[in-house]
Symmetry: none
Subunit: 538 residues, 2 copies
């Protein structure tokens, strides 16, 4: 097990320090479940001492059975106080998690400047805080903040901080390059020296301010570190934290270390993309291993060589991380994905079949227009079921019209009018809403509920807008992703248009169509039943 | 001069292999001039053997006096032929550049699989092609393609390729990690061995497939390489080339090498951002050194520490690379930010003043509602000018109304009606658009252009939507950020509402108000002038 590396994910804590990243307790729950499936060993959920949302997360995650250890984050106790009376430390203990990370200063400059206390008091803060967690039966992880800057400035003091943590019984000592300014050669040298002096298992926590967070992490592991702290897609303050999506395959496929199972590694790409959707952060196409262009070939010479042997221009087989080869311009990808999905749905599809080829062409065309089915399974399923003749349309659109009206100093008014044909009947409904899309949602529901009362049990749970070609500005194409749920399930749908209203409408319609798959309508002959429900349209 | 590193920029050649990057000859010219100002030593302009656009670039760049050497790119001669009859090689010679890079195979597997020739013939291709360039009086650079993969597979052959190049008189031997799969430790070891065997100066060319291109470049330099090939912002095929915007400051500020002047280094951020605009590629906010968030602080503890000393959470002074510190929204940070901004605008504000405290409270309240002035400087400036009584309103809103109508199988129609009072006149305009916001933009312009023809010179350059409280879904609050520009300037504005139309309207209005600060309207008495312009409203 000498080559086993513990993966400590802090997407939900340090990752949320990134500009533009804000996660609800719901988002955190979804991400934690994916991280667990990916096989990370620790999931740092947040800071219960500073944030009510994080306390909610720790409560809710208890309902799930997890392989990963959920951990809480906090600082060493306040200066000149007592650990057992420290509110933040007690919030961590009360949160009921099995492990916690405490950050404590290891750079003398920071003790003076930021903490404004004595070097001795800081050592006592580290020692007493970690000992308190151990006393409470928890696994304790010491994040030695600014360790490398500290070591370069005052190696004796930096090492003294680690030794205090070790004496207090901490389970891990994690060396942090908090400002991200250290070079790989320095990291390797300093971690080697620490490993020679300290018996406690060592971890590494780096930041990407020099575009070296991944390299610094590898250098530390090669010098003896056995825990890696990082985030999915490298989210984090300033330039981000070390990107686990690059570190895990580098360690496992290139350097002979073991982190997660081969099968879990094959879920890396889909997990990274899912989490970028939840965080609503655009994933760079060229992101290493998991980006959409990571195995995309553009140059003619490259393309003809990879046709002979992929190894000519691919450093690994993309399938190892769940990604795929793409040849730009002439898209060859997508086919197998569609077939796999069709198989899952028990739809009879194969490439010898003209309908199958037609639906694949249609999907390719839609993706080219900006649709993205990676985050919209339900829309993809609707396309496939439709192509297989397995879908009865629940309604057809005659027209919709929305209006938004604002008169100076009065609240804005949004209305939607929808005309649809359901079960041969024309339904003409109007509704207000908090905005144009909400009004559309309300009007469409009003039309459908009379035939499908079950629609009342579903609601939209997430709504995301992404501008696709930003240089076109207000005339730009937008992609809308809607997530919906009923009592048992949740599903995602997509719409794309130059017009945000139309894109939202598409995603909304798909959401309701999906909710009603296999549901029987209350038809005209059941008018009495509808009358009984007070639903008849006059 | 042992620590002088030659910077070889291939943004215009290898950079254009990146997905979504396409540069016209005009774009290339603009970028080349910026690269020259930045102080890179070589600018690889393109491949005259394969591309007419590149030949145009080489012609046009000759009109400029450049410090940097312009270089052309090509392959070694075709197999079983003669260098002096090779069309591609002759195109390079004819392009009139002083230096050229020839790529040639150094991996036996590639010779067999991609070239489909013998190992001996490949060596002859390398040798004869480089000798031909030298015969023509050019500086010759040999890019040893897949050198590291080749060395790992067959070190004798890989080294033989380099020796052939050296014997032919090449000026540089550049070791390429073409597939981007090599680890930093391997790079260091292999470059060290090559440096011990080869007298010709060595260069390094890496790709970012493992998120290690920067680290691999540094490792090669530390092992003896003295030329670095890379691109601005790391553009390039698949995951991109080595990013010069990270490599140059790492070499110069961290490792004691010399690349460009200190003054040129201070232009790094503005050059990187300019080139991302020309390439029309979104720059990640967290990009190392030059990103907008590279020195942005969000956490409360971080903010109070950097107030005491920036060094607590900044690895370098941002000014060294022309970037700047930013403090993201926080109660404490807000105040000093506002005062700093007011000072910049020569507005007399201080905390002893009731109006100042009122505007700070207003800004805090707006931020609490979801406004974000960090990314909307112009909206902040409007608030401050208004609070100081320094702003004349250009118009007041009476009402607006938008409608979006969709009839089955027909394109969606978006219309906006705007009623505003400008200079005492009520303007009532209607316009269509690609979507509701575009229609609003068009209608408002139509109302204002009659008084402010200058409005025609500005346009919106970016439009972003973010859903703030996503769990409210279609009734959720959204924030709209609009970026606008005219001939000289660009500015950003913000709007927040439950209604996406209203939020867009707010940002749109602020954008136009900002554009018109200090501009004199054409008033009623100038009706003849307006008539002359065909602008009078009937």
């Amino acid at each position: 097990m000498a080559n086993q590396i513990s993966i400590f994910d802090t997407t939900l804590r340090d990752g949320t320090q990134g500009e533009g990243i804000s996660l609800t307790a719901d988002d955190k729950l979804k991400i934690a479940l994916k991280l667990n499936a990916l096989g990370v060993h620790y999931i740092e959920g947040g800071n219960p001492g500073s944030n009510g949302k994080d306390i909610e997360f720790f409560q809710r995650i208890k309902q799930y059975s997890m392989q990963a250890k959920i951990t809480a984050f906090g600082s060493t106790r306040r200066k000149n106080s007592v650990a057992e009376h420290d509110t933040s430390l007690n919030r961590i203990v009360e949160s009921g998690v099995p492990a916690a990370t405490l950050v404590g200063k290891a750079w003398d400059f920071h003790v003076h400047t930021a903490l404004q206390t004595t070097l001795e008091e800081n050592l006592a803060m580290i020692s007493e805080s970690l000992a308190y967690l151990k006393l409470k039966g928890m696994e304790a992880i010491y994040d030695a903040e600014h360790f490398f800057d500290g070591y370069k400035n005052n190696p004796e003091y930096a090492i003294a901080a680690l030794k205090k943590a070790a004496e207090a019984g901490t389970d891990w000592i994690v060396l942090c390059d908090t400002n991200g300014g250290t070079m790989p050669v320095e990291i390797h040298e300093i971690v080697s020296r620490v490993a020679a002096e300290i018996q406690t298992p060592i971890g590494i926590h780096t930041h990407n301010d020099c575009e070296l967070a991944v390299a610094n992490t590898l250098a530390a592991v090669q010098a003896g570190a056995r825990q890696v702290q990082g985030t999915i897609n490298g989210y984090g303050e300033r330039c981000g934290n070390a990107n686990l999506c690059s570190i895990i395959p580098n360690l496992q496929l290139k350097l002979g270390y073991s982190c997660i199972s081969d099968e879990q590694l094959r879920s890396l790409t889909s997990n990274a993309r899912y989490i970028s959707e939840i965080a609503n952060v655009h994933m760079p196409v060229g992101q290493a291993y998991v980006g959409n262009a990571a195995f995309a070939h553009k140059g003619g010479i490259h393309v003809s060589a990879i046709m002979r042997d992929s190894k000519t221009y691919e450093h690994i087989a993309p399938e190892l991380v769940g990604n795929k080869q793409r040849v730009l311009v002439s898209e060859l990808a997508g086919q197998s994905n569609v077939l796999v999905k069709a198989q899952e749905l028990n739809l009879n599809m194969n490439l010898d079949n003209a309908e199958t080829r037609a639906v694949i062409d249609k999907i390719k065309d839609l993706e080219h227009q900006g649709y993205q089915f990676e985050g919209a399974d339900a829309s993809l399923e609707l396309l496939l079921r439709q192509a297989s003749g397995q879908l009865e349309e629940v309604f057809t659109l005659e027209s919709f019209k929305i209006s938004v009206e604002k008169t100076s100093n009065r609240p804005v008014i949004s209305e939607a009018i929808v005309k649809v044909t359901v079960q041969g009947e024309t339904m003409f409904t109007v509704a207000e809403g908090n905005g144009p899309v909400n009004a559309l949602d309300n009007a469409l529901r009003k039309a459908l509920v009379q035939f499908y009362p079950v629609i009342q049990t579903m609601h939209l749970s997430d709504y995301k807008v992404r501008v696709l070609d930003e240089k076109e500005t207000t005339a730009a194409k937008v992609r809308v992703l809607i997530e919906s749920q009923d009592i048992e399930n949740s599903w995602s749908t997509v719409g794309v248009s130059n017009n945000i209203i139309e894109a939202s409408w598409e995603a909304l319609v798909d959401s309701m169509r999906y909710a009603l798959i296999g549901k029987q309508p209350i038809v005209a002959s059941h008018d009495s039943q509808r009358q009984h429900l007070g639903l008849v349209n006059h």
